[in-house]
Symmetry: C2
Subunit: 198 residues, 2 copies
């Protein structure tokens, strides 16, 4: 037998063209979210994954460290959510498995909705000290059909217990507009058991 | 700027040597767990990651589809838990993002303890129909020092709601023995915020 031993995951081709046009530093928090939400729309419109995106920024300077989009279907990888891509790309770029610690800048994680149950865990382990979300609540599942999974009832307290600050409601309407557009499209919705639907 | 766009993750070098000696098919459930637990011990003893491992098997035939071990520290990737590696490698090998569905064999996921909060979510999205764990409870955290995160209080019900069967307590003592050996070693424990400890 020859078991698989190597994985490769990548951002979509269109990101290579977009990347030189993106700002290197984004000082304003709403502008950071705007960059992220723009990617969420581009991703599903291009057919390169679900309408989800995330960014790792240096909290103080606003330097963009890494951006990620959902890559599940094109990559044949159900773990390749936007949060996974952004965190892992940032850690690779910095050569460290911990985006926190006392020997480097504090990192902020900006996501276009509350992470799913898997990605909520990935935030805890990433080392970021700051989570910024456009919102939480049923709109995502209702508008898109995605299952977000069973997040812990005290998820806010669990972040706080690990020293991770939370900012909610940044450009909420803009994030919801992308979910609505996705829901009105004919894009695939994958929810684990049961396989791709629509 | 040049943002990172590609990720590569791989199994440890020692796995390449071990792989030809592994069985292609493991019919017995305890033997499947034994293969997994053996990898968890090899991994931390070789200094190639934490004492965690997971395997994707065809549920009926016992064919080994993919095996994974924790690769967080060597890969600079806090998401590279054993479950992520095994699921993603299996999906890559099969060329599908869904290990379930009606057009292929049912897959069983065998893990050397209850998955952490992140990896619990990854099980839900993987498409496996069967989760087998050596155990759950405080032994892992107490013996190793790892934070397993806030799993949902009704995690068993959440699996059942998605059609994922659960088998617990398979070779529990053997799994705990590895955690104890890890805890008595001088291996690194990484817990996200706060960085590597010990």
């Amino acid at each position: 037998m020859t078991l698989p031993t190597r994985l490769e995951l990548s951002m979509p081709d269109w990101f290579d063209d977009l990347e030189p046009t993106l700002p290197e530093v984004v000082a304003d928090l709403e502008e950071r979210m705007r960059v992220v939400i723009d990617l969420s729309r581009r991703n599903f419109e291009a057919g390169t994954g679900g309408p989800f995106s995330a960014g790792v920024f240096e909290r103080e300077s606003g330097r963009v460290v890494a951006l990620g989009v959902n890559r599940v279907v094109p990559s044949n990888c159900s773990c390749a959510h936007a949060e996974f891509m952004a965190i892992s790309l940032a850690q690779r770029a910095l050569g460290r498995w911990d985006l926190g610690g006392d020997d480097g800048p504090a990192h902020q994680f900006v996501v276009n909705w509350r992470p799913c149950t898997m990605c909520f865990g990935s935030v805890l382990w990433s080392g970021v000290v700051d989570l910024v979300i456009a919102g939480d609540g049923p709109e995502l599942e209702e508008l898109t059909g995605f299952d977000e999974g069973p997040i812990h009832p005290d998820w806010r307290g669990q972040l706080a217990a690990r020293g991770i600050a939370l900012t909610e409601g940044v450009l909420r309407d803009e994030a919801v507009a992308v979910f609505r557009a996705f829901g009105e499209s004919d894009a695939l919705v994958y929810n684990g058991r049961g396989g791709g639907r629509r």
